[in-house]
Symmetry: C2
Subunit: 314 residues, 2 copies
């Protein structure tokens, strides 16, 4: 009944320490330590080395430690067990903090004031649009997208959403699929991408999508915020769209290659705001508590929650 914790790119210790404290009755093994493969019933992964979970004959459940499960899908030897994704109030709140912050920065022209401050310039700029003049479009209407939408509406923004398959969300216009995308983009001034990365969504933030965003908005051009995954965006298209005015500005938390390499031209583009993939951080405490609870429930014969659908990949 042991738990194997397989983490790369993050510090594993905070996770191991918490799992041991929460499940003192159970062996918690960090990948790299010696263990008997037959004892492993559960695995918890953040970007585990491909193949490292392949020879676990009694594995029952694989837990993802971060939002999204795309980091698991590159493993051709991924075990054929249920994969559980993180749905966590704390992570959801942090994502909404990020989305509301960056929508407000674009609405309130913070980068223009930053530039004026550097120049010691006091420019009267009284007639800014209010949030109700600005249309935010959220791609991805899962738990994260719906929470961000609700909070953006409280701030006064005019919010709509798009998802791959139709979803109705109270108090919000929603669009779906390829056939709904045009109308969604045409009414969007700030495009916020919170989609999962799947075969269907890879490179969805591309030149053709940017060109279909609203041109009649109050921000002086459309804006893109990607807090999903780097694989959703075509980075060369973002740079070209910023340079030719198809986009006015963009905020990116995620990148094709992370950490973003120092030679990337994204770092220095004046219309780009870059954050180091921490829009919504996994809090080990909160997420470890949930995983320990799911393990207890499974052993009592209760169903797992938040299991990934293998057909859609999220």
């Amino acid at each position: 009944m042991s738990l194997l914790v397989a983490i790369t790119q993050w510090e594993p210790e905070p996770w191991i320490e918490r799992f041991r404290r929460l499940m003192p009755e159970r062996a918690v093994i960090a990948l790299g330590e010696p263990f008997n493969p037959a004892e492993i019933r559960y695995a918890a992964s953040w970007k585990h080395p491909p193949g490292s979970l392949a020879a676990l004959p009694n594995l029952q459940v694989l837990f993802s430690l971060g939002a999204g499960v795309d980091h698991l899908m590159g493993d051709p030897q991924l075990p054929a067990v249920p994969v559980v994704r993180v749905v966590d109030d704390d992570l959801t709140n942090r994502m909404s903090e990020y989305v509301v912050l960056h929508c407000l920065m674009h609405l309130r022209r913070q980068r223009a004031y930053d530039a004026q401050q550097r120049q010691k310039l006091w420019l009267d700029d009284r007639f800014q649009p209010g949030a109700h003049h600005v249309r935010v479009g959220i791609m991805g209407l899962g738990v994260l997208g719906q929470d961000a939408a609700r909070k953006l509406k409280v701030m006064g923004f005019d919010v709509a959403g798009w998802s791959r398959s139709p979803r109705s969300v109270e108090g919000m216009a929603t669009f779906a699929g390829a056939e709904g995308l045009d109308r969604f983009l045409a009414r969007t001034d700030i495009l916020v991408c919170l989609l999962p990365l799947t075969q269907d969504t890879r490179h969805i933030l591309n030149r053709s999508v940017f060109a279909r965003l609203a041109r009649d908005g109050r921000l002086g051009g459309p804006v893109v915020i990607n807090a999903g995954r780097g694989g959703l965006q075509v980075e060369a298209d973002i740079l070209a769209a910023l340079d030719d005015g198809t986009l006015k500005a963009a905020t990116l938390d995620v990148f094709k290659t992370e950490p973003l390499p120092p030679q990337s031209p994204l770092w220095t583009h004046p219309a780009l705001t870059i954050t180091p993939h921490n829009a919504a951080m996994s809090d080990p405490e909160s997420i470890a508590v949930q995983i320990a609870e799911q393990i207890r429930n499974v052993e009592r014969g209760e169903p797992l929650r938040n299991v990934v659908d293998p057909r859609t990949g999220y």
Copy 2:
């Protein structure tokens, strides 16, 4: 039954144009145009020249065109008529946009990421506090303060308020007067000042107040946001407190002298964010509609709304 419009420091034309359109039955006179003083029944002011409203024998009401009426109080010949202040949903929403934006910028360490971006640095900084870890204290619990508090709570912040005289606000701890100030400051990580400028509040943002803010918070030191009036703050105290670590950062929309002079050291302090007094702009359309409506109501014998209490000055 004419309206005299007395504006300095803003463009008067948008106001004049709107008043004329909204009240075609009435003469709308811009200060500087010839007029018969006995005809003036109403005046609308933004920083009118002192004395310019003194000789209007039939003046009944003086309307302020912006939030706050402190700009009127410097006129020793201010006519002894009811003064009406602006209470406007649009202005309220804009102030809350500003307050939530700048609280989130401090919470989410946006200035640290700005600096990292300039250096092309990708630093893992996963364990940031969430909004629920951070205590915002709002000084001033009028319409603006209450709306900002509500929206900050939706974002997850731990919000309390302080006002000169006791106020109870549902779902929020409130403190009042000199005797409540210590406890309020001791539980505040981000101090947001939305007070009116009166004899009682002048220079309230001073070294003694900064020194009493929480030292045990999750932001690495207390933060001040002033979106009220420049006269509320002692600018030398803000700079000294930033330099010696009493404050971690500050965001200022208002200043003792506006426009902020180029030689002011505030412009270049790395822990200061400066905006050009536009946190909450008066929208001529929205405010002119309200004033026209109040004039109609008065002439029907109905009471004025939002009249300033001459004892408190707001």
